[in-house]
Each structure stands twice: as C-alpha cells, then as structure tokens.
Amino acid sequence: MPELNDSPILLNRHLLGIDGLSVGEIEGLLDLAGDYVALNRAPAKKQALLRGRTLINLFFEASTRTQSSFELAGKRLGADVLNMSVRTSSVSKGETLIDTATTLNAMRPDILVVRHQDSGAAELLARKLDCSVVNAGDGSHEHPTQALLDALTIRRRRGRLDGLVVAICGDILHSRVARSNIGLLSKMGARVRLVAPRTLLPAEAARWGVEIFTEMKEGLKGVDIVMMLRLQLERMAGAFVPSTREYFRFYGLDREKLAHAKPGALVMHPGPMNRGVEIDSAIADDIEVSVIQEQVEMGVAIRMAVLDALARGLPREGRNAP
C-alpha cells in the first residue's frame, strides 16, 4: 500500500498548476491515486501517513465538493484538518491575502490548500509561506486537482489518455478547469477541442494548440469525451450570452448534440451543474454516458495522492523556519 512507499513523485514543494508538471509527475500522481481508489472502497479507510501534520483548507470562494474532498483526503491520511472559509469583500483583496498568509504561517501548517477568486493567489501564498501550497482553484487560471481527477476518470474508463479526442464545452473564457485540462490533456497526448460561442472563448485560444468550434454539433463530431463546463449565473443574463434558453439551445448538451460524438462517448462535468442550461438532466443522470459521480469519487483519491506526494517532500524533523 502507498503509505510504505516514499519515493518522490513531485519535484516541487507546491502544486500550483498543471503548467509546471512533467508527464512523469502526472503519471506518478495518477498511479498513486489509483491505489487510493481501492483503499477508499475498503471498509477501513484511515491511514497514518500524515499523522501529526496540519492541513489548512483556506477557501476565499464558496466550494462544497472541492473543500470537502480535500478535507476527507486529509482526514483519511491522518492529518489534522482545519477549514477556513474567508468571506472577503471585493476590495483590498491583495492586502488581505498577504495579511492572512502571515497569520497562517505563524500557525505552522504543513500543507495549505487554497482557493481564491484571483488568478495568481496560490502562487503569491506559496512565496510567502513556509509550508506546501496546493492550488484548489485561482481565478480563471488553474485548478490542477480537477484536471488530475478528470484524467484519472478518463484513464480508468478508457485505459489511456493518449490519442483520445476531448471536447471542452462552454465558458472557456472564465474557466480554470478548462485551462488546467487543456494543459494536462495536451501533455498526455490527447487532442483537445474547445466548443463555445465567441464571447466565451479567450483571445488567441487557438495558440494553445487546440481546435476551436463555435458550432457544437461540429465540435462534438467523433469525440471520445465531452467535458461540460459550468456557466456562472452572472454570465448568463446578457453579458456574454443573451439568455439561458438560447444557451441551452446552441450549447447545452442534449441527446441530439451528443449523438454526434463517438458512440459510447463519456460525459463529464466538474459540478455543480446547471440543469437545462449547459446540460440536459436526461444526460446528466444517464449512468450509461455520465461519469459525473465517478469524478467526485476520483476527486478524493486524487487529493489523497497529491497530499501523499507533497508529504514525501516535507521536512521530517523540526523546521528550519526562523
């Protein structure tokens, strides 16, 4: 079992994004997470790997599944887990973040999991803190554990990532999930397509080495995997798309559009879903095509693997903090 193995997997003290990871590191994390899937399905799930270690979940943005997933992962590995939800006003964020970092540092955590509405927040904390930092989503930048759990889900279903065609559909512009997935899937040899109205495609998106489609049926033609993204409520009413009914008509995943994908194509969604906006309930709830629940299960395993891998690099005795 994994707890006896301490050969290094990650070459960095932090997990800030997919961007800095090598193919070897990604494969190492996915292999390790595979072991944790088995463990999580066993009756006795508790490990002693992180006994004595302190894990802080610092969430500046509301999150149910990512936060509880990290909490569960930490607890199953034996760490002491502290959840901090910080309600911030939109003003003076930068200052607050550094103040918070200084305060937290004094509590001497071993691993800090952070989610923040601003891109680069995790990196800023990593520079200011002595502990390992895991990015649980920073603005529209990265959400590495989501991409890893998506990859694990696909790999377990399809046996590989290499050569698969994956369509990422919806609000690419604001999506950290999309950015991390584009990075990871491309590194692992999958072919990525982006499907969205032009208002939700970032500038120069084609420079990522992906194919761009504005017509969903065309974009889904022959794909192995359909990844739907959540459309934030504040972006629905006129600013980026005119209405939810129009969005569903042209970009919502329903049977008719899915029929253009490869037979047996898998449907994924990072959650929480807007039923009838980006996805038809009939598909979201169809266990033949939807792996959305499985993604949640893989999420816990991936986060255990990440915490395990980072713990291998933590100092064993004492700390050389000032």
Binding site: P197, T199, T214, F240, E246, R249
Partner: protein, 434 residues
Amino acid sequence: MTRTAFINARLLDPATKLDAPGALLVDGEIIADLGPRLFHDAKPADAKIVDCQGLALAPGLIDMRVFTGEPGSEYRETLASASRAAAAGGVTTMIVMPNTDPVIDEPSLVDFIKRRAAATASVRVLPMAALTRGLAGQVMTEMGLLMEAGAVAFTDGDRTIANARIMRRALAYASTFGALVVGHAEDPDLVEGAAANEGEFATRLGLPAAPAMAETIIVERDVRLVELTGARFHFGQVSTRASLEVIAAAKARGLPITCGVSAHHLALNELDIASYRTFHKVKPPLRSEADRAAMVEGVAAGIIDVIVSSHDPQAADTKRQTFAQAAFGAVGLETLLPAALGLYQSGHADLLDVLAAMTTAPARILGLDGGRLAKGAPADIVAFDPDEPFVLQADTLHSRAHNTPFDGRRFQGRVHMTYVAGARVFDRATATDV
C-alpha cells in the same frame, strides 16, 4: 402555372452586366428564361403577353433600410401601406427595421412580422431584429433563436451602441452564428440635442448642430471592433467623406465590412433645409455639399455598396414642429429609384452600377436569392423608364405618411410596373395597386 412573357423590353441585369433589348419569361413565381433572342422569332402561344414597349426590365429593388410603424404606430405606416409604397417605387423586398413598439427583439415578434407581412403586404418583407434588447444598448438579444425565427440581420436601427464593451461582445456573439450586424454611426453623446450638421449654415440658422465627425468616430471604433471580433458588419448609412475614407481603408485590409447611403444623402445637402423645413430633418443630418459629392463618388467607386431609402414615415404630430423639436425621418420608398438614378442622369455612375447598389449588392450582403435577372431566380421585377421626367407630388404618394423632402422635385426615371413572385403588384397605367 401562369406564364407571362415580357416582350419588347430593355433587359438590365447588374449581376451579368446585361443591357440589351430582349424578352423575359416568368413561369409561376420564378424567371423561366430571358435573353435578347427569346421570342425573337415567335411569340409564345401559351403565355400571357406583356408588351413593355421599350421599358427597362430590371430585378426588383431590395431596400435594406425601411422603418414602418407596425407594430405600435400603425397610424404612421403599416406593413401593408409601406408595401404599397414599395411596389410603386419598384421595391420588391423591404428589409424592415426593429424600431417598433414593441421592439423586434424576441423570436415571437420576428414571427409576427413575417406572418403580418404574408397576410397584408404586397412585396417581400424581411425583418432585421434588434441587436440589444429594447434597443437599449445594454443586453444582447437571442441572436441564434432570432435567426432561426427568420431575422436576416441584427441592428439597433438608428441607434448607436455607446458602450464599446457591449458592442464588442455583441459583435463577437454575432460572429458565432455568422450573423450580419448593421450599425448606425453617430456618437450618441456628441449628437445629443442636435438637429443639423455642424457648420456655417447651421450656425447662421441658429440650429443645434453636431459635427460630421460624430459619425466618423463611431465608424473608426466599429471598424476596430470588427477587426477584433471578425463579425460581418454593415454600416446602415454613412454620410461623410471621412467615414468613406475609413471604410475604404478597412475594405482594403480585407475586413468584412460594407456600407450603405440613403438616396436623400445622394440627392440633398444641408442647404436644402432652407427655411427650417422639417421634412429635411433626417438622421444622420443632411451634410455639406462636399460630403454629398463624396457619397456620389463613393457609389461610383464601389466603396458604398448599397443605396437605401431609409424610409421613415412621420405624421403631422411629429413633423409639424419647430426644426429642433421635429422628429427625424423622411419617407423614401417611392423616390429611391429616381433619386438614385440622378447619379446616372448626371453621368457620375453607370446605370447598371446604380441598379447594382439596390439589387445584387444587398442580395449578396444578406444572402438573398433575388436581385438578379436569371433563370430560376425569383420573378421579382421592375419595369421602368430610366429617362422619363416627372415632377414628384407628395400627395400622390402611396405611403400613409407624406413626409418627403422631394415635394415638387423634378426627377428622371419612373416606375411603370412591379412584379413580386410573378404577380403584378403595381401598374402605373391603371394606377391601381393590385
């Protein structure tokens, strides 16, 4: 099937540069055949014969800019009354603006226009839908659903979207569907309260005026936004030399941009306002003679793609006012052809080029099947005499509103018959509207 043979005609087809005596055969709703040799030897036995007596036979005009009062202001103009004016002016397809009450910003309202037109109008009516809800310049409309309902393009009509961020998003969203966006170029803050073109003439009249640059500023902005978004864009009507320079440069760079000019801005300048005649208050305002001359050159050089009527019926309540308080707008469906033909009469442009700006060009921009004389094309035809002189009398207009700036004007070029889908909708000989 009813077959109609038009003989002794002068065939004018801008698409093929055809200008020759000949005949044309209509079978049902389409053109079955045409050419100089057709019926040369024998008249068709099984067709109704229309002897054109040398009249020119051209594709029916497509007017890309028509305001009506339906729904909401039917006392000014209905789709039916506008279509009678169109038929009398040789216009067989009207593109109607969404500036009604309610605004055409919902798929169901596009459907309403189409159904009302089918039931009451004698010419083809194609609606443009609003680009933003309520024409408020804030929230983009459901362009995908509106296109499915039958909207041929998106525009806020005679309103400019002031916010560049909203305009950018609307253009980007439109480009998703390959939709055509039609813009109006007048900086809303610069022209607020203005009634005339800023310059010596407006100054002497003491009229509140806005600079011609108010148009060019928006033209420059929208050209850059098109460059950013890749949207297909058409300036509904431009009126200044500087705007044309910007558009010519944009076209030279390969941007998907086209533009139109109203017949009023080809035929009139700011001096025509004379003693505060409110029928000459239009949007954008009548410009200097240098700008008017630039419009004529623009059509001749092909920088201006289309000529429109910018038909905007206004009743006494909105026009019998002081110049500053009067509403903008002039009717134009029935004067579009003769006013545009002024370019041909004066030798500034070829007859076929003038016609192209009202037939093939709008058909190409809108992706329509008409606008040409060809086998298999819709039998939308106008028979006119390009040289016949007449004096326009406002009270003979078929439009419900008579606010024409051309009352008493001497024109050359007169429509005699108009056919839509093979059916006669106007005949000057009987002076009846079929």
